[in-house]
Symmetry: C2
Subunit: 239 residues, 2 copies
Amino acid sequence: MSGRVVALKAKARGRKTGGSEGGGRGKASVADIVEALRERIARQDIAPGAKLGEQELAAEFGVPRTRIREVLGILENRGLIDRIPNRGAVVSRLELEHVFHLYEVRAVLEGLCVRLATENAPPETWDEFVELFGEPMDKYVRERDFDSFIVVYERFRRRIIEWARNPVAARMLDSIYEKTNVVIRRIVILPGRAQEGLGEHRAVVAAMRAGDGEAAERAKRKNLYNAKETLRRFQKYVI
Amino acid sequence: MSGRVVALKAKARGRKTGGSEGGGRGKASVADIVEALRERIARQDIAPGAKLGEQELAAEFGVPRTRIREVLGILENRGLIDRIPNRGAVVSRLELEHVFHLYEVRAVLEGLCVRLATENAPPETWDEFVELFGEPMDKYVRERDFDSFIVVYERFRRRIIEWARNPVAARMLDSIYEKTNVVIRRIVILPGRAQEGLGEHRAVVAAMRAGDGEAAERAKRKNLYNAKETLRRFQKYVI
DNA sequence: GTTAACAATATTGTTGACACTACTGGCCAG
DNA sequence: CTGGCCAGTAGTGTCAACAATATTGTTAAC
């Protein structure tokens, strides 16, 4: 049916200075390959359900198959791929139910981070975002410039996690993002969602600027709860 | 300095019906070995900082070294061991700061699960625990029978996660428990903590029985927040 | 007696070869 | 023509030998 979507570039067979993947000099390490594949899966360069052949990947990255095997092991227990014994590995399809579960967890974890960040960072930290979530973001919404919208959104998210100073939460949120990245981009284009989300974020930022961590947490939770409900309402158009 | 604490039993070198570890028939699979080691680390049968030799483990479980290698890889990105290139693997020491981070995350995740469980389960589900957290637990506390105390505690926890019906949260909480198991047992014996925790849990159970998910969530959070504060106060005696 | 260089050993890291399983296509019987 | 059986093939799973690196032990010079 649907053909592979794997990029066939490079083929990097050479050894010295050969591996262009991951930016490392020398040949591609396990971490490099994991990162490369994680990115492809997150951006859906490889479609969900598509097969990941070990030999194929080994040839592309110019590494022995054993190393690919290790990579697939890591990707598997991160939940990004499914492996069936003697059958190979395929990119996980994310069930709608699973996405809801992810959103419930994401809500409380981001709520936590927002609260911690409010407590840890000097209030002026958030001035930048009070500004951005004002006129500029309004403009993006009006002009349907969702890419710029998401860039700011991501920047805010990263800043929060940075100031939350909790590596455990950061790690868990990362593992959620790498699975829901795609969904986020689809939710934001749903009718009225960007506008609504912007309003919710203004509440979050205002509370943070005011130093009220608890209020910020509640606002952030509500934001993600609403996002989930929008998703539920329009699920037919998303999945 | 401190010698190894590794159990030297079995040495199971035989192949057929040899691997007694993990309960599986035939030789030990990767999952079996991971589970066996996870358990040992959680129960501190292997001391933090102790070295895990590949050949040693391979000999003990009667499997090729490659398989042990895979196991160590899994344990590493679960955060249970640290691996230094060409030096080997050692059991992670858990820093006090890290434990606080884990508790912050655990608080919001268990809070979530308590709320979800209250929404999903029929109220009668919790009658059993209303009962248990009454007189029986009081008795355990009075008699310093912390083992029984923890058994009930664990049972309650499992029931909550079961009814929360959120595999994502369940998985994340598991990864927290396997690291903090030891700490839990040390907190509960701190002066007054068991009594205090019991009171907090009665509030949780009461709210759940009454079907008030939000109140139950708040109560559960408060419970873990207090546990964390107790830990902070007595940190010298715990770590 | 202490320290530095060197050799020996033990342990981790890497790889290609071999074994096994599941799919593909052809063949034959009904 | 259809359905099941069988062999061939492609791909995954397993392993044991080889290479690289760190640690330990030894010797000799200061």
